[in-house]
Every structure is written in structure tokens, then in C-alpha cells.
Subunit: 179 residues, 2 copies
Amino acid sequence: MDETADRILDAAFARIVEHGLRRTTMDDVARAAGLSRVTVYRRFSRKGDLIQALIMRELHRFLGEFEAAVGPLPTLADQVAEGFAVTLKGVRGHALLGRLLAGEPETILPHLTLEAGPYLKVAREHLAGHLRSPESEAVAEVFIRVTLSFLLTPDSVVPLSSDEEARAFAARHLVPLLP
Amino acid sequence: MDETADRILDAAFARIVEHGLRRTTMDDVARAAGLSRVTVYRRFSRKGDLIQALIMRELHRFLGEFEAAVGPLPTLADQVAEGFAVTLKGVRGHALLGRLLAGEPETILPHLTLEAGPYLKVAREHLAGHLRSPESEAVAEVFIRVTLSFLLTPDSVVPLSSDEEARAFAARHLVPLLP
């Protein structure tokens, strides 16, 4: 991603956190980025493309944090438990996700469900790299689906308010799926 | 649920399948049911309540089908595999869900995610009855979350186009979680 695209996405992120997705136009983003409309439209021809690029950039950023937390751990079981805890904390504390899910869920839910295929793919391939088996991608996908589900539907019989609880859940309910 | 409520929900179901959720008002439902607005509003004071009742009735109806398919099977592992296959087929072939997810996802997604707690609870308690262990509810919840996720985000590395594939997925990726 080039510098201009990054600058557009930075401006879009800040603008959407403050005003929401519905009340943010491509013109607003151009103005906030200090760029012309033409420059913005050359990078992102539709608002939907811009949002997709924004989510993808956040995902890659998060995978960096995930790696820093999970990479050094000795066993795969430790990595799964910590990875689940870190991801849950990451999505729960995410400024943009929190703002949109609370304030205008109908604008963000399609991206996190029906249109989430590309993000699921990136996360799955990343996670599968840790698992190293012919079934890695399917197992990784199940882990991601369960985690995403707790973001989409927080109501649960499972206690998940602390990192310890998150790790205990993963140890009991995800680790047995390891290849 | 009384007969009048059932008649209202029947009318709402048919009307929404044909015209969608956004273009269905409480007046439309009253007219389709051959009832007065007052009668409809006495049962369901808001459109949201009516939709919730509609989804809950469909869920109970489906749990009956689920039971008929799964109940006679000899082992818990068989029940999980068949239960997953039957549920996937049930949600994929559901006229109302299909219509709304394809045509106006933003109207139905909040019900299937952020507001899905009450449905998740009913399904979880039903499923946990089969599992019979102190951890039954948590395990049931994971099964339901994974299944719901395939409805919400169909894009997958897992082949799930036939009942055989669905059963194979469940045998490999859900059964190991049994208590």
C-alpha cells in the first residue's frame, strides 16, 4: 500500500470513529486527508472499497500484535489459548469496531458476516502457518469463526470477562481441535 | 402462543417472504391476517417484537425437525454429525432467511448477531439436553456458534455442499469437543 492510500485510510479511520460510517462521505475523507476528490477516487472508486481496505489494514495490523503475543510461546496449546485471549481483547477494545457495532451496527455487520470472506481468508492463512498439518486451514477457520462469533453475539453462557477466562475457554473448547 | 398470535405470525411470514422486511408494516400484517390493527398491536407492540416472535417460532419449529432427525441416532458422535448437517440444510433452505440475507441483509443481520442472545439460549439449552455433562451448555454453545457462522459467512475453505461433507466436517471438527 502506498503512502497516499495510507493517508486516506488514516483520515477515514479518524473521521469514522468520530462521525460514524453513514455520515462519512468520500468528500469528507478527501477533505480530512487534505487531498483532492480525484486523488481519493483514483485509489478507492467506491466507499465500499475504502471500507474494505480499512478493515484489511486493521486486520494486518492486528495480526502483527497477535504474532508478537503468540509467537514466543512454547506449545501450540499455549498459542491457541493466548491467541484467543489476545484476539478477544483486540476486537473488544477496537475503537472503530466498537463505535460502529454500538452506534450503527447495520452499516458494519455485512462486512463482518456476508462479506467477511476475504478477511477470513487472510486470518485463516496466517493462523494455519502456526498449525502445520494438512488440516490446518480448516482448524484455523473454526478457531476464527468461534472468535468472530463472540464479537458478533456477545451474549454467552461462557464467562469471558478476563484474559484468564478467555484462556481457560480456549484450552477446553478450542485446543482439542488441534490437528 | 395463542391462535391469534399464530395467525399474525403466519401472515407476517408470508408477507415478508414476498415483500421483504423493510416494506412490511404492521398495517400490512394486520391486513394480511384479516385482523384489526388494535388486535395486532395488542399482541406485538412493535415491529421488532413481531420479528423476534417470528424468529423464535421458526427456531422452535426447527428444533422439532432437528429432534426427529437426531433423536433416534445411537451415539453422541452420530448425533453431532447429523445435527450439523440437518441444521446447515435447514438454515440454507429456509425461505425467510434466504430472502432476507440475499435481498436486505442489513434488516436481518442484527437479529442474527447482536440480538441473537435469546435464540442462542433456546438452542443451547435444547442441545445441552443431549450432552448431559456439567460443561454441556458451553459445548452446545460452541457448536451453535460454528453452525451459525457458516450461515452468516458462507465463504469457507471447508467443503460443505453435501450432507456427507457436512457430517465429515462435524465428525472431524466438532465431535472432539464433546464432554
